[in-house]
Point group: C3
Chain length 342, copies 3
């Protein structure tokens, strides 16, 4: 429970209304009521704002006139909401110590302020720093380091020689440090290339559920500070992700590709291997980046959605597109002859 005054002080905000009110919950604009705080992120929600029974609302100066109860005035209500969202989080405080049914290697070093849940396995020479949370049945192999304040949820697998920075979050079923997909072709099939590198993950990184980050082939795979990976993202061996780059669900980055800082890659997209993507590049959903990008901007591929019947006809035409261009070229030539005659 927090008072409006506490929230306003934390956000460096001005209160228009009763600052002594107590807030117990964060709720959506259209349903927030007594004891609840909400926010108005965009002008299109003004009508909802006018009707809102919320105890307190995070708004801009201009929006504050429409607030029925207490307004907390900030420059960016969405960011203010993000900042206070942690105050209402469901995660209980850490319970320091090591639960039962765990297996901690003799040479592992686990901070006494860390919480190690039931069924966790930690390998030789691995260090778990202060205030870490290691969720139930998570396995961390040998020679890893997990820096302070990092939270690893249940059923995560971390292979040998993975190093994670501070305040990271890793969600369930994620796998960090599995072998990269490296094989040399032989006449008898594929010769495995043993993957000898590790993974270096910066600080303040979030890794989504089911996301996989492969270890490097010889050198390491590198994930910069503040990188955010959604669920079921695949990061291949020796990829470098620049600081604060965010990649949405089910996207894949192929081997040895380097992506600059502050890029965003929307869901179901791919970047093929050995490319360089410059900083501040943005890729829209289900796009395939198959060449390096040197100029920052927004990139796309695909055909857009349409009714199946018309799509079927258009796709047939797509497969004859080169021929169509030649037909147009030929028409242009004939037209020019006719026009010059005329």
């Amino acid at each position: 429970m927090f008072s409006v005054a506490q929230i306003a002080q934390f956000l460096d905000a001005v209160v228009d209304g009763d600052a002594s009110l107590n807030i117990v919950k964060l709720a959506p604009l259209d349903s927030a009521g007594a004891g609840q705080i909400t926010f108005c992120a965009q002008a299109k929600f003004l009508e909802q704002l006018k009707k809102s029974e919320a105890c307190a609302v995070l708004v801009t100066k201009e929006q504050s006139q429409f607030v029925k109860n207490t307004a907390i005035i900030v420059d960016n209500p969405y960011l203010a909401f993000a900042k206070i969202s942690e105050w209402f989080d469901w995660r209980p405080p850490l319970v320091k110590g090591i639960a039962k049914n765990t297996s901690i290697a003799r040479t592992a070093q686990v901070s006494p302020s860390a919480q190690i849940c039931s069924g966790v396995v930690i390998g030789e020479n691995t260090t778990i720093a202060e205030h870490c949370y290691i969720g139930a049945n998570t396995v961390i192999a040998d020679n890893c380091s997990i820096a302070s304040g990092t939270r690893i949820e249940a059923n995560v697998s971390i292979y040998d020689n993975v190093h994670m920075g501070q305040r990271c979050i890793v969600h369930s079923s994620a796998v960090i440090g599995a072998d990269g997909f490296g094989f040399a072709k032989t006449t008898q099939g594929w010769q495995k290339i043993y993957q000898l590198g590790g993974v270096q993950v910066g600080s303040d990184v979030e890794i989504g559920a089911g996301t996989t980050v492969d270890r490097g082939a010889i050198a390491d795979t590198i994930i910069g500070d503040g990188v955010k990976l959604d669920n079921q993202v695949q990061i291949a061996h020796n990829v470098h992700l620049g600081d604060h780059t965010a990649i949405a669900g089910c996207s894949a980055i192929a081997g040895s590709t380097r992506i600059g800082e502050n890029c965003t890659i929307a869901g179901l997209s791919g970047v093929t291997g050995h490319l360089e993507i410059t900083a501040n590049t943005h890729v829209t959903a289900m796009s395939l980046v198959s060449r390096s990008i040197k100029e920052a901007g927004v990139y796309s591929s695909g055909t857009g959605i349409e009714k199946h019947q018309s799509w079927k006809r258009n796709v047939v035409r797509f497969r004859a597109l080169d021929a169509l261009v030649k037909r147009v070229k030929s028409l242009e030539n004939e037209m020019q002859k006719l026009s010059s005659k005329g």
Copy 2:
């Protein structure tokens, strides 16, 4: 082991042949033999039907004349096969009770008729109803409820505040209730928006291996009754899936999108965020739905497969398609001038 008579009675079917025969196995039409039952789903399998040595075959009235041994006559042989398939399932009956190496929180309530396998972890205030199966090393956090008859396979992760209906099946490596991908942009990078909502899953829902269903940002993510999600599907925060909608492998639904009832979405497809997809919409494989769909029907995107050499030429033309249309427009203008002159 079941008699033909038992099967026919369950299916409300007519037997043409020996109803006393015993069936021990369900087998494919082209290999079924003594003691085995099979089915003929489509007319194109008639030749196989005529040769089948199966002890008994599920067929339509018309097909029954071609059955060598015993025919079990039903309206829809495929549906009849589906209905009796459970009789031949490999899953052993539940072994009631709690196995060793588990960790069940003091305030958790587990029905004595449930089976809790080795290594399971169950959190505070979580309830597991009668006849549930919780597979080995699965982790269910605090404040969850799993209704009766639900089966959760091994190595599943369920976060705080997830509520599942009756008779659901959740496959291995699935993750329900991980954080949605929510961040507010700041000048220093991304500010995490703590994900405060939960997940509500209806009854008779199946969730595939490696599938992820994120918790809501403020309100809950909602999965309707009878929804079927294949493997490696990603459902983002605050998505609503209507009853009986089915989504095939590796598809992703982005945040806050609402999909109506009885939709089907084929594999590797995506639906971007904040859209509304009306009931009875069908999306073909690897399509990206990037706008709301108000009219039921079949929708597609993509170019179709072709030889790489011709595709390369056509793709170059695609990127000049707008210019091509302008060239055609210009030709049409000139043609009209010429024709009017002529």
Copy 3:
């Protein structure tokens, strides 16, 4: 630690330099130094080769003149590097025996030379052959067999009736034998088709992190010898994968499709159900194969990446492509009339 002479002998290579040197590490060409071996895979790295301070370099006869220190001369330096990479692997030798917190069924047979890590669960009638490694918290259900030398990493789930060959590697969060996505439509929703088949995996198969291979509906799903599956690949029920076929990350193969030998399918690709793909077919990234392929070769789909602004215009034109072709046809007709008049 290995001597240059040992390495050369194993590779059947010629040493140009000091064969008595000791090698402790494999390193990249641009950073390898004392005690380290590297390789020159392509002519484009010649400048790096000339500057390399590596103790020893795997090179071709032609490249050997540019090596500062010791050259190990082979026909294919990349393949030679692959072959010796295992010598430098981080995986420690097996520690025979069964760790604590495990649950091994009474009728399971585990070879005394196998390593069973903490938290592993093994079901009834399952056999684990000699020299297998079963990683922490992995669950293997009833009636499975894992042949000799196979390595299964942490947190893998293997369902009932899965049979794996020798020397396979299965990475974390992989799921083998979950139910195929099989339902029959009814007026009340979907009737589950219980998935009664199993999975047969050949020898020398690698299955990536988070990859899912579904059990067959009635007959088995079959993965040939030497198949390599990258991370987050989805193999549906009753798929057959031919020997030595390799499938890259996040691709999906739908039900009952048969893919021949020695195919490669690049990342984020899909093959729809009930198709036949002939041997030696290669599919480029993010392509959808929606028809059978009878002729070996390289296949592609998609539009290629471009700037969002131009893409938006081209996509609008794509959706009118059929109409455009008709406009060109009409122009051609008029042109012919004009030309014949002229």
